[in-house]
């Protein structure tokens, strides 16, 4: 306990030296809680069950001193959506909102889209009410670390409105004199709110991007949160989403992980009121010695809530994948329906997947299932395509893409599927 690693100590020292932009007493207090919580355990090691398969030792190679200034970025490199798709766009460079690169545009009544740094002054009470409240970080040291460094990120608030155009968020990280950033993001939807968030993570060189998300979907609202993680080959991306879903509301999450030296997307969803539903879907593809971890926890806390989860991946070379999916059905949460599935294609002898789907059920009348499969491409399928004249390499790519496309079709609204399938195709062609 007292033996914190030099890496953990360097984060603590960095926190001590930090000069935060917004100095609000309650926020300083929250950061302090964050660093104290982090200091009580330090970065998780593989001794901790939830981190058994993902070792953050790789961070030791990085000088993690926090990023304070954004360097110049070529805006054309941030373009990833079709030119004719109108969005409300926010760009964060090394965790800081970039006014120049962003284009939020006009927003309908009932919608607020802004940076956290700005919201701290314009909506201080609302921030105080929610930040650090939606999801606790006591047993989540990586989120605690994010909390210790809260400074900027995005804030999206939609009330009683269907937001027509998607909100586009781009997080770009760079190697610099200091290499870590900790954006904190807040999504609040209530009273029949509808919104789609298209989020992209990318970067250059070596860095740690450690994201925290707090999401509240309440009062028959629906949030679609589609994320593309394509960090640089030496980038490390950690993210923790804490979502609370209320009455007759839906939180849809889709995560496409195709980049980074190491990435871990952790999502916790609490279905808190009857009629709450969540769809957690994801695709992971990796090669070389990339490591991609998807860890999810769905809590069914009350009767009549539902969840559906499918993650599929393809791993080549020495790539390693991790899937940890946990569904917990609380005592009395009858009528719960939770379906979870994880399927992985291993494209090489040395690739590896650690898949751990788990159910903990304390109620009587529930419908829950989980399953996972691991396999190679079917010889019969490959022969079928080749017998039609399609050479072996494109035939393999077609089978892998087809296998993965099923989740994209299931997890993403039709209008945006192509954005993600195109990324998968491009990856296959490399």
């Amino acid at each position: 306990m007292n033996e914190l690693s030099p890496l953990s100590q360097s984060f603590i020292a960095q926190h001590g030296d930090a000069k935060f932009g917004a100095t609000v007493p309650w926020l300083d207090g929250l950061r302090k809680e964050g660093i104290e919580s982090f200091a009580s355990s330090g970065l998780p090691t593989p001794d901790v069950e939830e981190w058994k398969y993902t070792n953050l030792k790789v961070l030791e190679k990085l000088d993690v001193a926090r990023t304070t200034e954004a360097a110049a970025i070529d805006p054309t490199e941030l373009t990833w959506l079709p030119a004719d798709l109108a969005t409300h766009k926010l760009v964060f460079v090394n965790g800081h909102y970039s006014q120049e690169l962003s284009a939020i545009g006009d927003l309908p009544d009932g919608v607020r889209v802004l940076s956290l740094a700005e919201a701290m002054t314009s909506d201080e009470d609302l921030m105080a009410e929610h930040l650090g409240q939606i999801g606790g970080f006591k047993d989540a040291p990586v989120l605690a670390l994010n909390t210790a460094f809260i400074e900027d990120g995005f804030v999206i608030i939609v009330e009683n409105t269907e937001l027509e155009n998607p909100i586009e968020v781009v997080f770009v990280s760079q190697t610099g004199a200091s290499n870590s950033n900790h954006p904190r993001n807040l999504i609040l939807a209530k009273d029949n709110a509808r919104m789609t968030i298209l989020e992209r993570h990318l970067g250059e060189g070596s860095y740690l991007a450690n994201h925290g998300f707090e999401v509240s979907v309440a009062g028959s609202s629906h949030v679609k949160h589609y994320r593309l993680l394509e960090d640089s080959a030496t980038g490390i991306n950690l993210s923790t989403v804490k979502a609370r879903v209320g009455k007759d509301s839906i939180y849809d999450s889709f995560v496409l992980s195709i980049g980074g030296q190491l990435s871990r997307s952790e999502i916790h969803v609490a279905c808190e009121e009857p009629g709450a539903h969540t769809n957690l879907n994801g695709v992971y593809i990796a090669r070389d010695s990339q490591h991609i971890d998807n860890t999810t926890l769905i809590d069914h806390l009350v009767p009549n809530t539902t969840s559906k989860e499918t993650y599929k991946g393809a791993l080549d070379d020495k790539a390693r994948g991790v899937f940890q999916g946990m569904i917990v059905v609380a005592e009395g949460a009858d009528g719960t329906d939770g379906q979870m599935s994880n399927k992985t294609l291993l494209l090489s002898d040395e690739s590896e997947i650690d898949s751990k789907p788990q159910l903990e059920i304390y109620a009587d009348d529930v419908k829950c299932a989980h399953g996972f499969t691991t396999g190679e491409l079917e010889e019969t399928s490959l022969f079928y395509l080749r017998s039609r004249g399609i050479p072996e390499a494109p035939a393999r790519a077609m089978l892998v893409e087809g296998f993965l496309a099923e989740v994209v079709e299931e997890g993403i609204k039709e209008d945006y599927q192509e954005i993600f399938t195109a990324k998968i195709s491009a990856w296959m062609e490399n």
């Binding site: 079917e378 010889e379 019969t380 399928s381 022969f383 079928y384 395509l385 080749r386 017998s387 039609r388 004249g389 399609i390 050479p391 072996e392 494109p394 035939a395 077609m398 089978l399 893409e401 087809g402 296998f403 993965l404 496309a405 099923e406 079709e409």
Partner: protein, 249 residues
């Protein structure tokens, strides 16, 4: 067109083909009939190049070339087509995209220009009508959720658009009801031409009512044991394969 000489092949340690000799001229339709386990499907897989079928003796000359030395995709490019007994489901890949990839692959191999999406759709629709294949079916994933009849019609559609000069139909009648059999039979018959040969593999005679063969062979225990005209198929329907299996045994 195709000349099979003393073909021996084994699967694992078991010899299945024990010296097959067969000559198929351009434009002719040959039928191969025979009891279960005679080696009919093995012959179709050896000709189309599937892994796991080891040729131990003999050769196959196709248009003057050594067919057995070619990879499956090259055979397809050269005009060999196999309609599968059990068409394979390819989840997540739409039928139309699969067809386009296949057709453009063989066109590229043959030095022909590739289709763009619009031209290809027009090209495919010329063929879908006779086979009663809807646009909706083209949008669905390859063979996924297709009925037995839909799968076989989709096979014949592939044959039509890939324009082969030698097509093997492996038990294409299996799993078909009378109406589906008629559609498939008419579809195949429409594809007969002086430049195209076919090898129709079947257990039963009924398919041959629709695809009338020029020559009928009996394959038993890995060898061609009898050949004749279309009337041979009718005799087999009446008398069964007992005579041949006894001979072979």
């Amino acid at each position: 067109m195709l000349e099979i000489k003393n073909l021996h092949a084994k699967v694992g340690d078991i010899e299945i083909l024990k010296g097959v000799d067969l000559n198929i001229e351009a434009g002719k339709v040959h039928a191969i009939m025979g009891p279960n386990g005679a080696g009919k499907s093995t012959l179709s897989y050896v000709l189309s190049g599937r892994d796991g079928y080891e040729v131990t003796e003999g050769l196959v000359i196709y248009k003057g070339k050594d067919l057995l030395a070619m990879e499956p995709e090259k055979r397809a490019g050269e005009g060999v087509f196999l309609a599968f007994q059990y068409p394979v489901e390819i989840p997540g890949v739409s039928t139309i995209n699969f067809l386009k990839a296949a057709v453009n692959s063989v066109r590229k191999y043959r030095g022909e220009s590739e289709f763009d999406a619009m031209d290809f759709l027009k090209f495919v629709r010329e063929q879908t009508k006779i086979l009663n294949i809807s646009d909706d079916m083209l949008k669905r994933a390859v063979n996924v959720g297709f009925s037995g009849g839909e799968k076989k019609r989709a096979e014949i559609l592939q044959m039509a658009v890939l324009n082969p000069s030698f097509a093997i139909l492996d038990e294409t009648d299996s799993g078909l009801d009378v109406d589906a059999l008629r559609i498939v039979g008419e579809g195949v018959t429409a594809l007969r031409s002086p430049e195209r040969s076919m090898l129709v593999i079947t257990h039963y005679q009924r398919l041959l009512d629709y695809i009338v063969p020029d020559v009928v062979h009996v394959l038993a225990d890995g060898k061609i044991v009898d050949s004749g005209d279309k009337n041979l198929a009718l005799e087999l329907e009446k008398n069964g394969y007992a005579n041949y299996t006894e001979v072979a045994a």
